[in-house]
C-alpha cells in the first residue's frame, strides 16, 4: 500500500510540484528573516503574506479540481466552504482578543457588546480552544457539504442544475451572515485579531510561520488528492464523470462516490479558509459572494482541469494577475481581463496551462502514442458541466 502510494507520487508532475513547494517553503522564509531589507533578494513580510494568501486559494482550487475535474461536479459554491472554515478560525481569533478589545469584555467580542448582548451565544462556545476551532474548521463545511450533497446527489441533481443550487447556497449564506442577529459580526465580519496560539499575529515570525503552514498544507492536500484520484476510487470518479449511467448500471452507488468526494473537497476548502483568515486579518460575508466561487472555477479552468497541479498554478497565476491589475491605472479593467481569460481558455486552451503544456512536452519528445492518448483526456472538455 505504501509502495503504491509512493509510486503514484513519483510522476514528473508530482515531483516538480512538491519540489517547487519545498523550495518556496525554505527560500521565502529564509530570505525574509535573514536578508537585510535593502537586499535585492529580500522578500518583505507583506509579500510573504500575499503569497500565503495565493497559496490558500491554491488549496481551494485543488479541492475544487477534485470534484470538478475528476467527478464532473461543477460546484459554483465552493467559496462557501472556504468562508465557513475562515469564520471558524475567525471565531477562535476573536476569543483570543479577550480584554484587549475596545470594550475590554473578557468573554464577549466587541461587536456583541456593541449590540448590547449579555451572554455569548451557544454557537460561540468552545471557540476559545484552538483544538475545538480546528475541529469546527473541518466539521462545519464537511457537514454542510454532507447534507447538501446527500439531498442533491440522491435526487440526481446534476450538471447546470447542481451548479445553480450551489450558487444559491453560497448566496443564501452571504445574506444570512450579513445580518447582525446571526451573531457573526454582520457586515463588518470578524477582524482586529491579536494573536494566534499565543503568538502575536502581526509579528514577522508569526507571518512566516503561517506561510510555512500554508505551503505544507498545500503539499499535503496535493498528496491526499493525488492518492485519491490514482486509487480505484478515483477511477470510479472519472468513470462517473465520463459515463454516469454506465457506472450506475455496473452497480456502483454513484451518489455515495460523489458524496465522499464532495465532503472531502469541502473539508479541504474549510482548511484553506482557516489559513487565509489570519494572513489577511479579516473575514466578512463578502467572502460568500457568488463571484468568489466563480473565480475559483476560472483558476481551475485556466490552470487545467483534472490535473491538480494546474489548479494550484491557475489560482496563483490568476491572483497574481489580479493583484497587478487591480492596483494602478488598469484597475477598472480587471473584470474584463478575467472574463476574457475565461473565454480564451475555453476556446483555445480547453485543457488549461498544465494540460496543454503536458501535450506539448509529449509531442516534442516525439512520443506519438502518448500524445494520442492524452487527446482522449479531453473527454471532460466535451461535457463541461456534467
Amino acid at each position: 500500500m505504501i509502495t503504491r502510494a509512493l509510486f503514484n507520487l513519483s510522476d514528473t508532475g508530482s515531483r516538480t510540484f512538491l519540489g517547487v513547494l519545498l523550495a518556496i517553503a525554505i527560500l521565502v522564509p529564509l530570505s525574509n528573516l535573514t536578508l537585510a531589507p535593502d537586499h535585492a533578494l529580500h522578500v518583505p513580510t507583506h509579500i510573504v503574506s500575499l503569497v500565503g494568501k495565493y497559496l490558500c486559494y491554491a488549496i481551494l482550487a485543488v479541492a475544487l479540481d477534485l470534484v470538478w475535474g475528476f467527478c464532473g461536479i461543477l460546484s459554483l459554491g465552493h467559496a462557501a466552504f472556504f468562508a465557513l472554515g475562515g469564520y471558524a478560525m475567525g471565531m477562535y481569533l476573536m476569543r483570543q482578543i479577550g480584554t484587549r478589545g475596545v470594550y475590554a469584555d473578557p468573554i464577549l467580542p466587541d461587536f456583541m457588546v456593541f449590540l448590547n448582548w449579555k451572554d455569548l451565544p451557544w454557537f460561540w462556545w468552545g471557540f476559545d480552544s484552538f483544538f475545538f476551532a480546528a475541529l469546527m474548521i473541518v466539521l462545519v463545511p464537511g457537514l454542510l457539504a454532507f447534507v447538501f450533497g446527500w439531498l442533491a446527489f440522491r435526487s440526481r441533481v446534476t450538471g447546470v442544475y447542481l451548479s445553480i443550487i450551489t450558487q444559491a447556497m453560497t448566496y443564501a449564506l452571504m445574506l444570512a451572515f450579513f445580518r447582525n442577529e446571526m451573531g457573526f459580526g454582520g457586515n463588518n465580519g470578524l477582524t482586529d485579531f491579536k494573536d494566534i496560539l499565543g503568538f502575536d499575529i502581526q509579528a514577522q515570525t508569526t507571518r512566516v510561520g503561517l506561510f510555512i503552514a500554508t505551503v505544507a498544507t498545500l503539499a499535503l492536500t496535493y498528496i491526499v488528492c493525488r492518492l485519491l484520484v490514482t486509487s480505484t476510487y478515483g477511477k470510479v470518479l472519472v468513470a462517473i464523470r465520463d459515463a454516469e449511467s454506465r457506472t450506475r448500471f455496473l452497480g456502483y452507488r454513484v451518489e455515495h462516490y460523489k458524496l465522499v468526494a464532495f465532503v472531502a473537497s469541502a473539508c479541504i476548502a474549510g482548511i484553506a479558509g482557516a489559513l487565509y483568515v489570519p494572513q489577511v486579518g479579516i473575514i466578512n460575508p463578502s467572502e460568500f459572494a457568488p463571484a468568489n466561487s466563480i473565480e475559483a472555477v476560472i483558476w481551475v479552468a485556466v490552470g487545467g482541469r483534472g490535473t491538480l497541479t494546474g489548479a494550484a498554478l491557475g489560482a496563483v497565476a490568476v491572483n497574481f494577475a489580479k493583484s497587478v491589475f487591480t492596483t494602478g491605472a488598469l484597475a477598472p479593467y480587471w473584470l474584463f481581463v478575467l472574463g476574457g481569460l475565461f473565454i480564451v481558455t475555453t476556446l483555445f486552451l480547453p485543457k488549461g496551462i498544465v494540460g496543454t503544456a503536458g501535450d506539448l512536452i509529449r509531442r516534442l519528445r516525439g512520443d506519438r502514442a502518448a500524445a494520442g492518448k492524452t487527446t482522449q483526456d479531453s473527454a471532460p472538455v466535451r461535457q463541461p458541466a456534467e
Binding site: 486509487s231 472519472v238 459515463a243 450506475r248 448500471f249 455496473l250 462516490y257 482522449q376
Partner: protein, 251 residues
Amino acid sequence: MTALPVTQSVLYLDGISVAFDGFKALNELSLYLEPGEMRAIIGPNGAGKTTMMDVITGKTRPDTGSAIFNGRHDLTELDEAEIANLGVGRKFQKPTVFESHSLADNIRLALDGERSPFSALFGARNRILDDRIDEVLARVRLLDHRERLAGDLSHGQKQWLEIAMLLAQDPKLLLVDEPVAGMTDAETEETAHLLRDISRTHSVIVVEHDMHFVRLLNVKVTCLHEGSVLAEGTIDAVSANERVIEVYLGR
C-alpha cells in the same frame, strides 16, 4: 407488496404498462425467460424494446405490472445499482465505455465484487488480479489492446469492450441492446459467435434490428409492436407471420 408468483423463470414480466405523457410505450407486456435461455427481441422503432430494458434495469418505473427476477425479486421496487448487484447487466445501444481509462481499468471497474467507496479506497477493489482482467479481455479478443485508452478503440471494438465489461460483472441476466449496430459483416458474425458462447452460462436478451444477425443467433424470437408481444417463436415462424411482415419486416 403483493405475493410474488412462484416461477422458475429467470425473468418474469407480467402485464407491464408504461405511459409517457399519454403515449403507451409498453402496453400489458408479458414475457418470460427461462434460465440459460437467449432470446432475441425484434420490432419496429417505438415498439417498446428499449423501454422494456429500462423497466428491467430500474431506470423506468412501470405504471402497472411486475417484473420478477430469479423468482424472488420484484425489479419494479429496486433502483439501478440494486438491480445490477442482483445480477442484471446491460449493454447500451450506443457503446458506452469509460473513454479516458485503459481497457484494463474498464474491466477492473466492471469485475464483480464489493462496490462501496470504502472498498475502492482501501479494500478489495484494489486487489483485483491482472489474471482475471486478462481472462475477460482475451474472451473478446482485446487482450493486445490492454493498455490502450478505451476512447481510442474503433466503434466495433467499443461494442466488444462493453460486452466484456458485462462478462466481468458476471450477471445472471445480460440485456444487450443492438450489439452489432455499425459493425462490419465479419464483426457481426464474430459477435453472434461470442453471444452464443456467453449464453451457455448466462441468460441473455438481445435487441437487434439486423435480421441476418438474429438468424445467426438461432434462438427464440419475440417481436414487439406498440408495447406488447406481437409474435413469438422460431425465427422462421416469426418472419412468416403476416402481422410481423405487415408492421415490421415489410413485404
